[in-house]
């Protein structure tokens, strides 16, 4: 029943997507403005029906679906039963397609208000991408196949026809143990997908603009909100991924340059470059061609990321052929790249920018350096992630590319970005009056170096920590100085008190100051990483019951082992009390969790969150003699990193909501202030 509902939903959505493509193209070509609402409705309702069927099947333990039979168990608790809908390949594509249909609906609503060729062409592109994903669902990754031969647990043979000889098993094996160990897994994928899939909207508008030869910044204006939504969710998604790794993966870290992590970082870097260079085009009419390239690159990288994480290519090149979805995604990626750039090259005369760069010491110049650094950053991550795969595929040679490689290249580049971030916002457009930049940066530079000195004397003389703090204070200092400069000028003109002038300055240019908030977030992330990566401590101990160990000023006493059995899992762990200077601080219970028939157990750390540095305790094992083998880790100030990530994303959401000051493009004047 649910299989039939889901399959029908898929087909209806596919029909809607095809209609959107054909009718969108004819609308863009003929100049007529047909109603595309029917097609958009079919797409959205079909996608919703598919997801509803999937979730209902999981909630009602309907094991007649192969997906449920092989990825769900009766004992799987809430919210993991729903999260199972995107825990495996087929289900994750249902979620992807649903999010895509949702974004398409928003593009349609805009078209409905003011139908034109650009909107119709963008809808046709959205429809084209939807055709691919629903096509994928119907052919190689069908989530609604039914089970026709049940095993004791799970299903061994399936059929795509929803009504033939269903043989449902009594129970399934449940989702991957690692994925049901933390509630974060329930929200991390949807957040990340909102980021990934949202990048389809600027891509669709860009391709649409090229197709209908709608030069100028109109496509940027239309996709602006969607880009910010996608970027903010992508930021949140990466943050949640790091947080999840920290809370679940037992080694006290949050980022390991793993291919799956890199797959989410690459589009983020290029999208960040695009957010900045888009401003240059809107204000100065420059970089039009470059913006098309960035948007195409961002979308392609989201597809590449999906390919890397979902085809099984990452763990071993040899599993490549095991899933038909790998070649399909790779083919779609090649098609996207070749098609986009062919279209781009035939429109070359329309994408040239009329304005010119007058001086590198200008806002445009700072944005150019920012774009160069971010693009090279993304390129480094791309090369480091794909080179081992390409090399192994063509020559069979195995090479590893890990943390040492990425850190060595990414750290200097990150510091360069921080430095540019300190100068960029206080540099005027076009050209800079002599001495202006110096006047605006000298005081922040003195303050930053003073704070850097204090850090070196009071906290640590580690070079990375000192540099991150100094540059961070400089960035925040220059933007604070700018805010006060503008506010005092306003206060002098209108004779209102400084605080209210400051409020008006900020609310008068909300988008700019929301961007600065994101900069503060990035500064916090940089400082958090510098502290966590360089000032952490690690110890490995073996304690008998009642025995205590001292770590980072805390005393940890091993009380006893414990064992908890719930329907979903068996938890075997060690209980420790933590005291500091004789005062009780808390209890930690690191454990190994055993889900269903899984025998290896998921090592589950326990973290005592402390402002100075978390106490991170992992259980290595409980040997037979009654002792507990444990590791203690601490990453000082890691909460700064989490807060920084949230602030960065918040800046993106605020920029989307901010009333944009109506700006005229910057004309030929010579000293124009920010």
């Amino acid at each position: 029943m649910l299989a039939a509902l889901g399959s029908a939903g898929m087909l209806v959505a596919l029909v809607g997507a095809v209609l959107l493509v054909t009718r969108g193209i004819s609308a863009a070509r003929s100049g007529t403005r047909p109603n595309l609402g029917g097609a958009a409705q079919l797409l959205l309702s079909g996608a919703v029906a598919s997801m509803a069927a999937m979730v209902l099947a999981l909630l009602t333990d309907d094991f007649s679906l192969v997906y449920t039979a092989n990825h769900h168990a009766r004992a799987t608790p809430f919210p993991f039963d729903i999260a199972t809908a995107w825990a495996a390949l087929e289900g994750s594509i249902v979620l992807w397609a649903l999010v895509l249909a949702g974004f398409t609906w928003f593009v349609y609503r805009r078209y409905r208000r003011a139908p034109d060729g650009l909107g119709a062409a963008a809808l046709a592109v959205m429809g084209g991408v939807a055709v691919f994903f629903f096509g994928l669902m119907i052919t190689v990754a069908n989530p609604f196949e039914v089970c026709v031969q049940a095993a004791e647990v799970g299903c061994v043979r399936s059929s795509p026809w929803p009504f033939v000889g269903i043989d449902a098993p009594a129970n399934g094996p449940g989702p991957n143990p690692l994925l049901q160990n933390h509630f974060m897994m329930a929200i991390h994928p949807p957040v990340l997908y909102l980021g990934y899939v949202g990048m389809t909207v600027p891509f669709a508008y860009a391709i649409g603009a090229l197709a209908v030869k709608a030069a100028g910044p109109e496509w940027l204006r239309r996709s602006h909100r969607a880009t910010l939504v996608a970027w903010s969710f992508l930021t949140l998604g990466i943050l949640l991924g790091g947080w999840w790794a920290y809370e679940v993966l037992s080694w006290g870290g949050y980022w390991a340059w793993d291919p799956v992590e890199n797959a989410s970082l690459m589009p983020w870097l290029v999208a960040t470059a695009f957010l900045h260079s888009g401003i240059v085009q809107q204000r100065r009419g420059m970089l039009q061609a470059w913006n098309f390239i960035l948007v195409i690159a961002t979308f392609s990288l989201t597809i590449l990321g999906t390919f890397l994480t979902r085809s099984g290519t990452v763990n071993s090149v040899h599993s490549f052929t095991q899933s038909a979805i790998g070649p399909a995604l790779l083919g779609f990626l090649v098609l996207t790249l070749v098609g986009s750039f062919l279209l781009f090259s035939t429109r070359a005369d329309h994408v040239a920018s009329p304005s010119r760069l007058e001086s590198m010491v200008s806002r445009e110049g700072a944005f150019l350096i920012n774009n160069l650094a971010l693009s090279v950053y993304a390129f480094i991550v791309l090369v480091g992630t794909t080179y081992p795969l390409v090399l192994e595929a063509f020559t069979g040679t195995q090479v590893g590319v890990g943390e040492p490689f990425f850190n060595r290249l990414a750290v200097p580049l990150s510091f360069t970005l921080l430095l540019v971030m300190g100068f960029g916002p206080v540099t005027p457009w076009r050209t800079t009056e002599r001495g202006l930049l110096w006047r605006r940066t000298r005081t922040p530079a003195v303050v930053a170096l003073a704070v850097g000195l204090l850090t070196a004397i009071l906290v640590s003389r580690n070079g990375w920590v000192v540099t991150a703090v100094t540059l961070g204070v400089f960035v925040v200092g220059t933007m604070t100085g700018l805010a006060f400069e503008q506010a005092s000028r306003r206060a002098a003109k209108t004779s209102e008190p400084l605080p209210s002038a400051l409020r008006r300055v900020i609310s008068g240019d909300g988008a700019f100051w929301a961007g600065q908030l994101s900069h503060v977030g990035v500064v916090l992330v940089a400082i958090g990483i510098a502290f966590a990566a360089n000032l952490g401590a690690h110890a490995e101990v073996r304690l008998a019951p009642g025995e205590a160990a001292t770590f980072q000023g805390h005393t940890l006493t091993y009380e006893s082992p414990f064992r908890q059995v719930t329907p979903a899992k068996t938890v075997v762990g060690a209980r420790l009390t933590v005291t500091r200077d004789g005062r009780f601080v808390g209890i930690v219970e690191p454990s190994a969790n055993f889900f269903g028939s899984d025998e290896s157990g998921v090592s589950t750390p326990d973290v005592l969150h402390r402002p100075g540095g978390d106490l991170y305790v992992t259980l290595l094992g409980l040997p037979d003699n009654g002792s507990a083998a444990l590791t203690f880790d601490t990453s000082p100030m890691i909460w700064v990193l989490w807060v920084g990530g949230l602030v960065t994303a918040a800046g993106g959401f605020l920029a989307m909501r901010a009333r944009r000051r109506e700006r005229e493009p910057v004309e030929d004047r010579h000293t124009i202030d920010v």
């Binding site: 030069a215 993966l249 037992s250 080694w251 390991a256 009419g285 061609a289 990452v314 763990n315 090259s345 070359a348 005369d349 994408v351 040239a352 920018s353 009329p354 304005s355 010119r356 760069l357 590198m360 150019l368 160069l372 693009s375 090279v376 390129f379 480094i380 090369v383 080179y387 090399l391 020559t395 069979g396 040679t397 195995q398 090479v399 590893g400 590319v401 890990g402 943390e403 040492p404 490689f405 290249l409 110096w438 000298r442 005081t443 530079a445 003195v446 170096l449 003073a450 850097g452 000195l453 070196a456 004397i457 003389r461 580690n462 070079g463 000192v466 690690h538 090592s603 290595l620 030929d668």
Partner: protein
């Protein structure tokens, strides 16, 4: 305070503070944790892309303990890394050297940076003629000049990639066994393999080739040639558990099938099973020898049942083992 004095004071303060800060950082006691630094450079053999420093798996912990011991003994980073890579098959260096196959990894970001800088520089030097307000057709020449530049950049990138790959190709051949462990050996002749093995007898990667060669002899029924190779793998300190188990199982079968030495054969199977109790090929062959060689129906039946309990057994093998088990239980002699 005049502007000039203020500037002078600021510059002095900046220079002084930067100097002090640089000195403080440069003279800070080195608190580098060498153990985890080395650990981050080595991929854990049994994990999915994690370094041994980041993995809670028992094997990674063992390797980290080894690193800590070697660091305490004062050995250099390179020696420790080389030892780990040799001792643990599947351990891969995560810190690609700036030479050979991975040189291009280090060069390409620099190339990208260079190309980007050149494009910006070129773009500044060749502004579009049409400034704001001019008819857009004026923009044409810029684009036409942009296209050859893009082609040039692409060509340069291609040259870097091709050069890197061909470089890798040559270095791969020169070092001979560097990639041997994972090579496709299907079109390498027996003689070539013998020669390579003879030339690199104690190279840690050679066991894979020995095993491939021995398997080939074994399947041809040439036990005499297969025997020394399997023996070398079984004795090799570098062989993985999997390789050793295969070699021991095959040696056992040859001892029975070639020389009818039941005792030796069973002894070799038990050695293999001591390393890996779940080695089903060794179990099955042991069952065969127990049945056909020792005539011990009871034990042979028990062994076959163990094999059948393995859920990963494919259907064809399952059927074969099942029919053997049925025959043993029925008291039939082996065919």
């Amino acid at each position: 305070m005049s502007e000039r004095v203020r500037n002078l004071v600021t510059v002095t303060a900046l220079v002084a503070m930067t100097t002090i800060l640089a000195t403080l950082v440069a003279t800070s006691p080195s608190d580098v944790d060498r153990v985890s630094e080395i650990g981050e450079r080595i991929k854990c053999p049994v994990c999915q892309g994690e370094s041994i420093a980041n993995s809670p798996s028992p094997m990674a912990r063992d390797m980290m303990a080894l690193v800590a011991e070697r660091v305490a003994n004062g050995q250099s980073d390179e020696v420790i890394v080389a030892e780990l890579l040799a001792a643990y098959s599947g351990a891969v260096l995560l810190d690609p050297p700036a030479s050979g196959a991975t040189l291009i990894l280090w060069l390409s970001p620099l190339a990208a940076l260079g190309i980007g800088a050149v494009i910006i520089f070129w773009w500044r030097g060749h502004p579009a003629r049409g400034v704001t307000g001019d008819p857009p057709e004026e923009a044409g020449p810029t684009t036409r000049r942009l296209v050859p530049l893009l082609i040039l950049a692409a060509a340069f990138a291609t040259i870097v990639v091709v050069a890197g790959l061909s470089l890798q190709d040559r270095s791969g051949r020169a070092s001979g066994v560097a990639a041997l462990g994972d090579q496709d050996l299907s079109d390498v002749s027996n003689d070539t393999m013998e020669a390579v093995i003879a030339a690199n007898g104690d190279h840690p990667e050679v066991d894979g080739m020995r095993l491939a060669l021995a398997d080939r002899y074994f399947e041809e029924g040439d036990y005499r040639s297969a025997f020394p190779q399997y023996l070398a793998v079984a004795d090799s300190a570098n062989a993985t558990d999997g390789q050793a188990v295969t070699a021991l199982a095959r040696l056992g079968w040859m001892a029975w099938d070639g020389n009818a030495e039941v005792e030796t054969a069973l002894n070799l199977f038990d050695q293999a099973l001591a390393i890996d109790p779940s080695a089903m090929t060794a179990q099955y062959l042991k069952g065969q020898v127990l049945w056909c060689g020792a005539g011990d129906h009871e034990q042979a039946g028990a062994v076959f049942a163990t094999v059948l309990s393995d859920p990963d057994l494919d259907a064809e093998s399952r059927a074969a083992v099942q029919s053997d088990l049925d025959a043993v239980t029925a008291g039939e002699d082996c065919a």
